[in-house]
């Protein structure tokens, strides 16, 4: 990381500038936490961390980990991808540690996901029905393997590009494409009444 002697201050400062400043003064970390707190909390919820307390704990650990590893932050990545990666890894550790199953709750994003999954074989009336029952979609989403849930959540709920998903999940871009294709197919298969497979 090139040392910038006078990083910009305030809300206009870029993430990278705040990182540089935080290395000199830990108080400078605050705007970065505030900038990502809500986004990451929503992401954790979409990954299936159902309880608010759990999300807070994971977020706290993620930001502490980010702070301790600030010097490993690679400026060729976006800070956002790096922070999502840490939060994602913390969430996975949480599930492993607690032997907990993700509790998927889908709200407005179910619309976007359904649109994406719709194809010429979809039964329009059943789609409307399912749209009214987000629980059905959430249930189907929950049956997916974690890797599939990850890519769908990042792509359709977090609106991440393939490159960003590659940086967050630490897999090649080609693998992201393959996972996403398989995840959509698996989700359609999990909703046989709606989609003819």
């Amino acid at each position: 990381m090139s040392a910038d002697p006078l990083p910009r201050k305030g809300i206009d400062a870029s993430d990278e500038e705040i990182v540089r400043r935080t290395l000199l003064d830990k108080e400078a970390f605050t705007p970065l936490i505030m900038r990502y707190e809500a986004k990451l909390a929503r992401y954790l919820e979409r990954l299936g961390v159902g309880l608010l307390e759990d999300r807070e704990d994971i977020l706290q650990n993620a930001f502490i980990k980010a702070y301790k590893n600030l010097n490993s932050f690679d400026m060729t990545l976006t800070f956002s991808s790096w922070m999502y990666r840490i939060a994602h890894n913390e969430a996975m550790s949480f599930f492993r540690r607690k032997h907990a199953r993700p509790q998927i709750i889908l709200s407005e994003e179910s619309e976007m996901l359904l649109t994406e999954l719709r194809d010429e074989h979809a039964d329009a009336s059943r789609l409307t029905e399912l749209r009214l029952s987000r629980e059905g979609l959430a249930k189907a989403f929950q049956t997916l393997p974690p890797r599939y849930r990850d890519v769908i959540a990042l792509r359709y709920f977090e609106d991440r590009s393939y490159t960003e998903m590659s940086d967050i999940l630490e897999v090649p871009v080609g693998t992201v494409s393959t996972l996403l294709y398989r995840a959509k197919r698996a989700l359609r298969e999990a909703l046989p009444d709606i989609f003819s497979v």
């Binding site: 010097n71 060729t76 090649p172 693998t175």
Partner: protein, 289 residues
Amino acid sequence: MTTINPQRGHTLAEQVLSRIEHEQLSPRPRWRFIVKNYVFWCLGALAIVLGALAFAATLFEITNVDWHLSTATHGNLFSFFFAAAPIFWVVAFILLILIGYINVRYTDHGYRHSLLVIALVAGLVSLLLGAGIYAFGFGRAIVEIPGDHPPFYRPIFAVQQSWWLAPEKGLLGGQVVQVAPDGNSFVLSDFSDRTWEIYAGDLAARDFAVIARGGKVRIVGAPVAATSSVFHACFVFSWETYLDSAEQESKQSTVASSTYERNVTGGRSEICKGIRPYQQLRSMDEEGL
């Protein structure tokens, strides 16, 4: 990680900063990440170099195995292939390429490359480097490095020697010690240092030429009796594979004094005609292999 959340109710930023303060945390120094990255690169490179050594050893074993005598030692090419295949080195090569991949994968941007791409690049570098090492003549040295230590590995020359320590199958190999003045027999010390009297009445001129060159030889024939140390030789081939030139020269001088020319062009006895695979060995013998 142990979760400490002493100030629930405060903002997340306050909680994080409080914890940084409380646990006296500070960013890990940058050099640690740089060193870690270099260590992974170096381990990856080391695995590729070791993979190259394994490939050089593979090439050495493939090119120095008795392909032309496979039907004599193993009956058919298929069983010979499985006996001679350098499985140890091939497995070592594959494992090292995988280790190389894992190490590169854990470098800063290693995750961006697929297993296939990294394995292909690492494999190709190892193959080229290994071919170079083999071409410079280091194959044998590599094959000998493990010695007899690994429980599942024997150098190919030891394996081949064991194939030619089977007089009951008509296969005998060793060093020609002395040739009788009448040319009807010679003395051979086999690879287990057992001394054999070899009956040479059935040998052709080309076989004697091999004996005259000295050094180690392979003999295809038949034991005179199960318990005796007399062996009826039908064909003699040189053990040229593992003789370097210096060794060959010294062996040649030892036997040269007792060498003579013999012109045998006729067929061999019924004993030899009964050995497997007679016609093939005869044609090889005539071609001077």
